[in-house]
């Protein structure tokens, strides 16, 4: 069991530690009351409180040095912020470039092709939406007007870097396909195939199986 004197010492030390904040008036109620009741009985703490108050009052009399900001100073900081922002934009681009240069060439090709595809598809989809907004929608029956042109589907194809002209020609003849555009700067060809008895899926599967094709995807929304 702790003696009363020990408990008193602990309380004294606790109050002693709190005196500066009692002096600056920021103690919470419970602590403030504990300090006040101890102060009533402890002359050492009362003396110390007086010293704390004296210190506080004197410190407030030490003149404060706080010049007004110079406009050039803010300009310099804004410049630093500009540098920081530019660096923040540059770093993702740089890491992408580093990633690409560290990537094996065939994988890089595939990545490039995928990027082209994503861009192509999103552009195509965008145009489709735009087209929908602008073009009047017309419905035809089979007996209407002139015969509709033979419907075609589009494929985007990336050939393997080592593909020969002969191999490409054979593949295209096999699906009655025709290159309508390409190669793009990323090596993507757009190939049109007539909608025949074979569904597009089957044509696509055939093209993808070809050993000289890196990538083949359907063109969405009739985009060429």
């Amino acid at each position: 069991m702790r003696s009363g004197a020990e408990r008193g010492d602990r309380l004294h030390r606790r109050v002693w530690d709190l005196l500066p904040w009692y002096a600056n008036g920021t103690l919470e109620d419970g602590e403030r009351r504990a300090v006040e009741s101890h102060l009533a009985a402890c002359s050492r703490c009362r003396e110390e409180l007086s010293a704390c108050r004296g210190l506080g009052e004197l410190l407030l009399e030490v003149p404060e040095v706080a010049p007004a900001p110079h406009p050039a100073h803010l300009a310099r900081i804004m410049e630093k912020i500009g540098d920081h922002e530019r660096a923040a934009w540059r770093s993702p681009l740089e890491s992408l470039r580093n990633l690409l240069t560290a990537t094996p060439r065939p994988v890089r090709w595939a990545l490039a092709a995928q990027l082209a595809l994503v861009l192509g598809l999103s552009l195509g989809f965008g145009r489709l939406l735009l087209h929908r907004q602008v073009a009047p929608v017309t419905y035809r029956t089979l007996s209407d007007g002139p015969a509709a042109p033979v419907p075609v589907s589009g494929l985007r194809v990336v050939f393997a870097p080592g593909a020969t002209e002969q191999e490409i020609r054979d593949l295209l003849l096999g699906i009655r396909g025709q290159i309508v555009s390409g190669p793009s700067s990323l090596g993507v060809y757009t190939v049109e195939v007539p909608m025949g008895p074979d569904p597009l899926d089957k044509v696509l599967a055939h093209v993808r199986k070809h050993r000289q094709v890196s990538l083949a995807e359907p063109v969405v929304g009739g985009e060429r």
Partner: protein, 197 residues
């Protein structure tokens, strides 16, 4: 006031440059004075102030509003000041102590109002005492000095001081305990003279 500062910080977090400029103007003098009190190195204050402002720009998006904006900003400033002091002088406190003998602690002679020779003698004595106290506080280690200034000059509760300094509240009390003992050694008459006015 705090509400508008919180809003300003939120806008800075969203990379609003106008809000940042407004915050800069609100805080420049406060930060300058605070950094000078903490560092006692007028030559380093502006550089650290730049670092603090840049850190505010970068970090404002992470300000969660749980503390007061000033607590958050003073916390950044304290840590930037410590970093600058340790970078500039590996012997930190030693260097500051030795400077004490050669330089005025505060440039108060130029900045204070001119002395009125008709003013009562007690006022002159107090000015002298304040000047000596300034020197004594400067001689404290930076952690103790910061606790003393944040308590007495800024009137902050110990919990907020702990938040600014990134330490437990008991560490704040211990630092203050040592600072008080040291100041009494340097200024034995502090209690009596200080309380007389």
């Amino acid at each position: 006031m705090t509400d508008s500062e919180t809003n300003l910080l939120r806008r800075v977090g969203a990379k609003d440059r106008k809000a940042f400029e407004a915050l800069y103007h609100q805080y420049y003098r406060r930060l300058f004075s605070y950094l000078l009190k903490v560092m006692r190195r007028a030559d380093l204050v502006e550089e650290v102030l730049n670092d603090v402002m840049l850190a505010i720009w970068k970090g404002a998006a992470g300000f969660d509003g749980r503390s007061r904006p000033s607590t958050w900003i003073f916390g950044i400033a304290y840590h930037k000041a410590l970093k600058a002091l340790s970078r500039r002088s590996p012997l930190g406190q030693m260097t500051q102590m030795s400077q004490m003998a050669h330089e005025p602690m505060y440039p108060e002679r130029e900045l204070a109002e001119p002395v009125d020779h008709d003013e009562p003698e007690s006022l002159l004595v107090r000015r002298e005492l304040a000047s000596v106290l300034g020197q004594a506080v400067r001689a404290l280690p930076v952690e103790q000095r910061t606790v003393v200034e944040l308590t007495y000059f800024y009137g902050l509760p110990y919990q907020e001081i702990a938040e600014i300094m990134g330490c437990p509240v008991n560490t704040v009390k211990t630092r203050m305990f040592h600072a008080r003992r040291r100041l009494k050694e340097l200024l034995p008459g502090l209690g009596v003279s200080g309380h007389a006015g």
